[in-house]
């Protein structure tokens, strides 16, 4: 269980993308996502998708891993894609009873599918190429301005680190408890929804109990090492912007201006 989930898994490497500062990666990711949705016709969509594919390829992580992470949401993508075919205006291509397929509907379907697929792919780049500690560190640094409003940014980042760190531990624990209950004849594979939810109780209660126990132990261990929040805390690895970040920024700006130009130059799509 859980071994097939690649979404959100870190894969160490030395590619250009790996060497980018985690802060630039987060900010660029957000702008890529924005521009995926700004793209308003086929030309601009093609441009941003190609750029995203280029980024994906330059991570030097096997494309299979990206496909795997997309498999999780495959159903959602197909479902929304197919549903979109039937909504839309414009020239009617095919009609039967109350079902109408229009040019706009097909455009919609293609757009939704490509957008979601690109979105997942480019988001995977961030989690695949950034270690969890770098990621939370970057989030902490990016949220720093919020300390003005007395928001405890360090504490939030620490909680995120701990949560990420304990995902595999909890998965393993779940596996163990499930096996133990299965050995006592718990049946988790058959029955209707209600039966299955009920069958989870013998797994969830021990899991809860052990999570609290672990949380308690961890808090104790942190206190024993004199942890008292973010004040005056130094870092072993300091995030630094470098030439790679500048290059990534310029590359992205070119792409983004291209998207805008395409939007202006070519006519918008019928929806």
């Amino acid at each position: 269980m859980g071994r097939d989930i690649t979404l959100g898994q870190f894969m160490p490497g030395h590619s250009v993308i790996h060497r980018l500062d985690a802060r630039s990666k987060i900010l660029l990711l957000i702008s890529y996502i924005v521009f995926i949705f700004i793209a308003g016709n086929y030309m601009s969509l093609l441009l941003i998708t190609m750029a995203s594919l280029l980024v994906v390829l330059s991570t030097r992580i096997s494309f299979k891993m990206y496909l795997k992470s997309m498999r999780v949401i495959l159903f959602v993508v197909l479902f929304t894609g197919i549903l979109n075919i039937f909504y839309g205006s414009g020239e009617v291509l095919w009609e039967w009873w109350i079902i109408k397929i229009t040019q706009g509907g097909i455009n919609n379907a293609i757009f939704v599918t490509v957008r979601i697929a690109t979105l997942v792919m480019i988001s995977s780049v961030l989690t695949f190429t950034t270690s969890p500690s770098d990621l939370t560190d970057a989030i902490e640094r990016l949220l720093k301005p919020l300390t003005v409003f007395h928001i405890k940014v360090h504490e939030i980042a620490m909680m995120m680190t701990i949560a990420l760190r304990f995902i595999p531990v909890l998965l393993e624990e779940t596996d163990k408890i499930m096996n133990a209950q299965k050995a006592r004849g718990a049946d988790m594979e058959s029955g209707n929804v209600f039966k299955r939810v009920k069958a989870l109780i013998p797994v969830l209660i021990p899991l809860f109990v052990s999570s609290f126990r672990r949380a308690n132990d961890l808090a104790m261990a942190m206190e024993c090492r004199c942890y008292n929040g973010g004040k005056g805390r130094t870092r072993m690895r300091i995030l630094r912007f470098s030439g790679v970040d500048l290059f990534a920024l310029i590359f992205s700006l070119v792409i983004f201006s291209g998207v805008i130009l395409c939007n202006i130059y070519f006519s918008p799509l019928t929806r």
């Binding site: 299965k182 006592r184 049946d187 013998p202």
Partner: protein, 282 residues
């Protein structure tokens, strides 16, 4: 007829991926009804994998496992039946407790088996008796028990299914010496009363030597020995090469013999050693 028989079982984790790892290599053995088998091996030798295969929690990549002469994966849909017949107590089983009362928790297995209420009641009380849980504890919440009591309650939950084969994975880990001795003697009295088969995985050579009829030694997923305790522990140097050792008392007798005192070295318990030395001086 052997109650459990493994035929060339092999288990490969993550077959076909970069993380492929062979946990067990072509293991074959037979265990007779009523035997008490000790399983020893260094960390990562495949002990835990083996015991999970035996009750159908894992499925072998190759090979077959027979329970009472029937292939356990013959009908995958009925694998639950196998799990009722081969009871499995995991390491630190106290973490699987979840019910409101100890009584309900012990009855989880029997209820899943679909037994009648009287039968369940009988089994719960018997199982609690075997592990020495007092009646008044049965109405308490399992989370209010002490660590040792929790462990006993969890073991009772498996015994209550009245399995043909009982497997215990390190049941004494983390208990104090008194608790350990008490639990082991309860397990051995359960074994002698019920006359069923017990498999005990342990790191403690002393425990195994005292209680097991035969010992299965695993190393790197392979069967190295399956023999009586005397025979296994007479091969002390081989065991040490595998990262294991003989019981301390056996080691003492071996050292005595090396220093020229003519004692027998196939001694496994302190009592035996005591008698041997007393006889010597007579």
């Amino acid at each position: 007829m052997a109650v459990l028989k493994a035929e060339n079982i092999r288990l490969v984790y993550g077959a076909g991926t970069a993380f492929e790892k062979t946990a067990l290599k072509d293991l074959s053995f037979e265990i007779e009804k009523g035997e008490f088998i000790g399983i020893i091996g260094h960390t990562g030798s495949g002990k835990s994998t083996l015991v999970q295969l035996l009750n159908g929690l894992l499925r072998p990549t190759y090979g077959k496992i027979y329970l009472n002469g029937k292939d356990i994966w013959h009908e995958p849909k009925k694998i639950r039946e196998v799990r009722f017949k081969v009871g499995m107590v995991f390491q630190y089983p106290e973490y699987q407790l979840f019910e409101e009362t100890v009584y309900k928790d012990i009855s989880f297995g029997p209820v899943n088996m679909g037994l009648s209420e009287e039968e369940i009641d009988k089994r719960v009380r018997e199982a609690a008796g075997f592990v020495g849980l007092k009646d008044e504890l049965l109405t308490k919440s399992p989370f209010d028990l002490s660590g040792g009591e929790k462990r006993r309650a969890a073991i009772a939950g498996v015994i209550a299914m009245d399995p043909d084969v009982l497997i215990l994975d390190e049941p004494t880990a983390g208990l104090d010496p008194l608790g350990r001795d008490a639990l082991l003697s309860q397990i051995s009295s359960y074994h002698s009363v019920r006359k069923n088969t017990v498999l005990l995985v342990s790191h403690s050579m002393e425990d195994i030597a005292r209680i097991a009829d035969r010992i299965l030694v695993l190393s790197h997923g392979e069967k190295v020995m399956l023999d009586t305790a005397e025979n296994v522990f007479s091969r002390g140097s081989e065991l040490e090469e595998l990262g294991l050792r003989v019981p301390q008392i056996t080691r003492i007798m071996m050292l005595l013999r090396e220093s020229g005192i003519p004692v027998n070295t196939n001694i496994l318990t302190v009592e035996q050693a005591f008698n041997e030395i007393v006889n010597l001086s007579v």
